[in-house]
């Protein structure tokens, strides 16, 4: 409900009276922390791990990367497969065939310290189609076409989704474009879920990669997006809960996806 609050305050006071400016504030720099971003894209049969460390808040540039780590993924039978160090902080394994409804583990060893995590690979929920409908201008956007995802939430168990869209060939990666949701209000229903903030024109092509996450990954990304977009509004700000041992930041996620494509027509 931060959203409700925010809309309200910004609308009334923000629109009329408020003002922003850059200020100098003191922050307490923390020691660099290890960050492990690990993803097993089961549909592409591809494992990628990025290892880096944090940098100071007011320091520009990208995080310093860690090369030379030993990274391996382990299936539920205990079979370990190493990833290939790309020399730029990335570690990759291709053509790694999935077993859905099984749990994978991963070990990352940096400077003799091993960081471990495990993740369950849920079944993939199919995306039936995308559709577009013309919508008048409102608070949420200008007049234009809104794209809807049509799918049926499987009944009887909780499901967690993330939708990544590409518009005219370009993947939307900004924080404001992240779209993650669960079925707690819509368990077992046929769904039409809009990207309500996006307004498209006739001729735009939209591709949606519709990922099925486990609860742990849903929680992690929800916390991450919340924190990154928070702007100091949370009374209980906290780092996303990592599934790595030994206090590494980051997350090991295992997921598959379905994809659909639509070209907006009148």
């Amino acid at each position: 409900m931060k959203v409700v609050n925010y809309i309200y305050i910004i609308l009334f006071f923000g629109a009329i009276l408020s003002c922003t400016k850059e200020i100098d504030v003191e922050v307490k720099d923390a020691d660099p922390q290890l960050v492990i971003e690990a993803n097993y894209d089961a549909t592409n049969e591809r494992v990628q791990v990025n290892v880096s460390i944090t940098k100071n808040v007011f320091e520009g540039g990208v995080n310093p990367v860690i090369t030379g780590a030993a990274v391996e993924i382990i299936d539920e039978n205990g079979l370990a497969t190493p990833l290939v160090d790309q020399g730029n902080g990335s570690y990759i394994l291709e053509n790694y065939a999935p077993t859905y409804l099984s749990t994978y583990s991963m070990n990352v060893t940096v400077d003799g310290v091993m960081y471990s995590a495990s993740s369950f690979l849920p079944e993939v929920v199919q995306l039936d189609s995308l559709s577009s409908i013309f919508t008048e201008a409102s608070l949420f956007g200008a007049a234009g076409y809104v794209v809807y995802m049509n799918f049926t939430d499987p009944a009887g168990l909780p499901n967690y989704y993330r939708a990544v869209r590409s518009v005219n060939g370009e993947v939307l990666t900004d924080l404001g474009d992240q779209f993650i949701f669960d079925d707690s209000f819509s368990e077992g229903n046929a769904q039409t879920v809009p990207f309500f903030g996006d307004r498209y024109e006739v001729g735009d092509s939209v591709v949606v990669e519709f990922r099925s996450y486990n609860k742990n990954s849903y929680d992690y990304y929800s916390q991450l997006f919340d924190l990154a977009g928070d702007g100091g509004q949370s009374a209980a700000p906290a780092n996303p809960v990592s599934n790595w041992s030994n206090d590494a930041l980051g997350h090991f996620a295992t997921w598959g996806w379905d994809s659909k494509y639509v070209v907006v027509v009148e």
Binding site: L17, F58, F185
Partner: protein, 772 residues
């Protein structure tokens, strides 16, 4: 047990055996018949002997047989002197008139009912305000507001601009019991805290207890804000009102039967949405955004011994943005009271009280929309007795029982949205209290005020109680029938304060209180919101317990013209609540799994100087304080600052009466910036720049300071009509105080801190009138 025994001995030791008679009655305002709560009667022949009128204007004074001169007085009123020959119990109803020199403009800024009550009362300092006495103090948008003015007094900190709520001595915003004619007000703010729900035209008096809290109050761990509505003029009809920049007010009052009963109806409505029509964003035009308040009260005396009051409050905020977004919330309260005088020594009040708070919001409409609503509702039966044992002991005792119904959330969804209809289980609880307290004078210099409250809380069915593992998964689940106890909590709450008058103009006081708080407000944003959810204590949530000791020294000089005080306190808070990362509190039937528990500590010292007489009046206060919290789940159990841990806090309020026509005023506020959490490192994850959160509240917003200016022009008075114009400037030197600080990337890709400030310099004008 030992303490109880000691108190018992003290109490019985003070029962005199000589033949005594009682003089009792009411003390009211000569002009409009309003009860004068706190008016006093003193016996000229006996040092430090007297009585005070209670909130219904009733007083009772027992004296040995004899002739006495009784002086009735109330600050700002002419004394009335009566001589009595006490050979039997007598009734004396007294009417006091306003003295000539203060008839037009009340000069006293903070009223103490007796000029030196701050010295002589056994009760630790109580902050009292009445709307009349603060009408010239400049306030945002010129809207007079008792709650805003309270935040300028020591130990009380406003939650900041754009924020409802306030903090008393390091306690949480939900730890203040806010009562309107005895009814709990769950959300005391309009427009997210820019205004309080208390329409000054309908308010008689506000008292804020922050230490040595009397045993008659219970249920919130930090303070009690007791607001009383006016009874209405029982002499003649009157109409008054005001027209302001943001809202307008109208009040009608008058007798039902002259001197026997009266009524008052007071309404207020804002028209803030007019401004939105000038907004640059055309989407904002045509938006509905307003609030209203309606206060109603009537009372009637049935004979000499019985009086009935009926009062109600209805207020609502409404916000509607076309068909896209709607949000509204409000309080309703109703109180029916019956005063009965059993004897000249025993006064009784019985109240039946209703309170409701609810909010709802909707997004979209019809088949394409959905809405969520939630509410909390109370029924309360309350019985209080005051027994005026003798001139040295005033005994109060009573009980109450509240039935709470919590409705955590209902989701109603249009056919095309794909959401299920959700109606979370209601939760039920009964909260009971019983108390006895005595205000006892041991000698002319030494007084005690002591009491004990028993409180109990029955969390009951029907419903389901869960337990969770550390990751929030359900471990056990048990269902309960209607009225079946799920969990019962109880506690004994000792209350104590004492005063030692060191000489006529100075005293030392000390107090202790313990209070159990059984219902809790959950809010995981730094800005309070109507969607903040109230939850009962349950099998998982233990009651909050607040303990506080306080010591104060009070000194009046120049015939009470200057009042100096210093108070110091230490407060312990148990079973405090905080949140797991990304806690979801809305429409969550299992909200307990989002919570973590810890404790709080707060301590400080408050200095204040008040000037109560003369052309220049006002006060200055400085508070040095800390407010800390400690949770095993946060920062590995290290103590951290609560957000309101403002170490230095300073307020200056001055009112200068230039002439009968012009009064000028100013207030200045300075405090240490709120404790907030800034990132202490940064990393890019999944393409997103993510802050690394360091120590909770380990950073500070920039310091806050602000100067407000006001002027009131009392226009020429006609025989039956008086009117005035109030001008004010909020934030006169345009300080940009930080509402929030965000870390954002600038165009060069560099992370910078960007602050948002809400208000720079807001001028306002208000016209007030009164038909007599």
């Amino acid at each position: 047990m030992k303490n109880l025994y000691f108190l018992g001995v003290l109490f019985f030791a003070s029962l005199g055996l000589a033949q005594q008679f009682t003089v009792s009655g009411s003390i009211t305002d000569l002009k409009n018949g309003e009860d004068l709560f706190g008016a006093s009667v003193v016996v000229k022949e006996l040092a430090n002997t007297g009585a005070q009128a209670n909130v219904y204007g009733f007083y009772s004074l027992s004296l040995q047989k004899g002739k006495y001169t009784l002086v009735y007085r109330y600050s700002g009123y002419e004394d009335v002197v009566k001589t009595v020959d006490l050979t039997e119990n007598i009734t004396l109803n007294i009417e006091l008139g306003v003295s000539a020199d203060v008839q037009q403009i009340e000069e006293v800024v903070i009223t103490s009912k007796k000029e030196n009550e701050n010295i002589t009362s056994a009760q630790m300092e109580v902050t009292r305000l009445d709307p009349k006495s603060i009408e010239t103090i400049p306030i945002l948008f010129g809207e007079q507001d008792v709650m805003k003015t309270l935040q300028l007094t020591p130990g009380v900190k406003g939650a900041g601009e754009g924020n409802a709520g306030f903090f008393v001595r390091g306690g949480g915003a939900d730890q203040n019991l806010i009562l309107l004619d005895e009814s709990t007000v769950y959300n005391a703010s309009h427009l997210l805290g820019f205004f309080s729900v208390f329409n000054s035209d309908a308010i008689k008096d506000v008292a804020l207890y922050k230490s040595g809290i009397p045993a008659e109050y219970g249920g919130r761990a930090s303070s009690v804000m007791d607001v009383r509505m006016r009874d209405g003029n029982n002499k003649k009809m009157g109409v008054s009102g005001g027209i302001g920049l943001i809202s307008s007010r109208l009040t009608v009052e008058g007798p039902i039967v002259k001197d026997k009963g009266s009524f008052i109806v007071s309404g207020r409505r804002s028209y803030a949405d007019i401004f939105l029509n000038f907004a640059p964003d055309t989407n904002l035009r045509g938006t509905t955004l307003f609030f209203y308040d309606l206060n109603m009260k009537a009372n009637y005396k049935f004979g000499e011994k019985d009086r009935v009051f009926v009062s109600g409050y209805f207020g609502r905020d409404k916000f509607q943005l076309g068909q896209d977004f709607g949000f509204d919330w409000g309080n309703s309260t109703a109180t029916v009271r019956w005063n009965h005088i059993f004897s000249d020594k025993l006064f009784s009040n019985t109240s039946v009280i209703f309170s409701n708070f609810d909010y709802q919001f909707s997004i979209g409409e019809g088949d394409d929309g959905f809405g969520i609503r939630s509410s909390i509702q109370d029924w309360n039966l309350k019985q209080d007795f005051t027994y005026y044992l003798n001139s040295n002991n005033t005994l109060k005792y009573g009980f109450n029982a509240i039935y709470h119904t919590f409705r955590p959330g209902v989701l109603e969804s249009g056919a095309n949205v794909g959401f299920n209809q959700i109606d979370l289980d209601k939760r039920y609880a009964a909260e009971v209290g019983a108390y006895v307290q005595n205000e006892q004078k041991l000698s002319n210099r030494f007084s005690l005020f002591y009491g004990l409250r028993y409180s109990g809380f029955n969390y009951m069915g029907e419903g389901t109680a869960y337990t969770y593992d550390s990751e929030g998964n359900v471990l056990t689940e048990q269902t309960y029938e209607s009225f079946e106890t799920i969990k019962y909590y109880q506690g004994l709450e000792p209350r104590f304060s004492m005063s030692l008058i060191t000489n006529e103009n100075s005293s030392v006081k000390a107090g202790y209180n313990r209070i159990f708080q059984y219902i809790h407000q959950l809010s995981n944003t730094t800005t309070s919101s109507p969607t903040d959810v109230w939850v009962p204590s349950s099998n998982l949530v233990a009651p909050q317990i607040g303990d506080q000791v306080a010591v104060g020294y009070y000194q009046n000089i120049k015939n009470n013209e200057y009042q100096f005080s210093v108070e110091t306190y230490y407060k312990w808070l148990q079973n405090q609540i905080d949140y797991k990362p990304n806690a979801n509190l809305v429409l969550n039937g299992q909200v307990e799994r989002e919570l973590v528990y810890g404790k709080g500590m707060a301590y400080g010292v408050e200095f204040q100087v008040k000037k109560t007489k003369g052309k220049l009046t006002g006060w200055f206060n400085y508070t040095l304080s800390r407010a800390l919290r400690q949770f095993d789940d946060i920062d590995e159990g290290q103590a951290f600052s609560a957000r309101q841990d403002r170490i230095h806090d300073l307020n200056l309020v001055l009112t200068y009466k230039l002439s009968d026509a012009w009064v000028f005023s100013t207030s200045f506020v300075y405090y240490t910036g709120d404790a907030v959490t800034f990132p202490s490192a940064q990393y890019v994850y999944d393409g997103i720049t993510t802050p690394y959160v360091g120590q909770r509240n380990g950073n500070r917003l920039p310091d806050y300071h602000r100067l407000d200016l006001g002027a009131t022009w009392y226009l020429k008075e006609k025989k039956r009509f008086e009117h005035s114009l109030n001008f004010s400037i909020y934030n006169a030197y345009g300080r940009e105080n930080a509402f929030s600080v965000r870390f954002v990337e600038n165009d060069a890709g560099q992370t910078v801190a960007e602050q948002t400030a809400l208000f720079k310099l807001i001028p306002a004008i208000t016209y007030n009138f009164k038909l007599k």
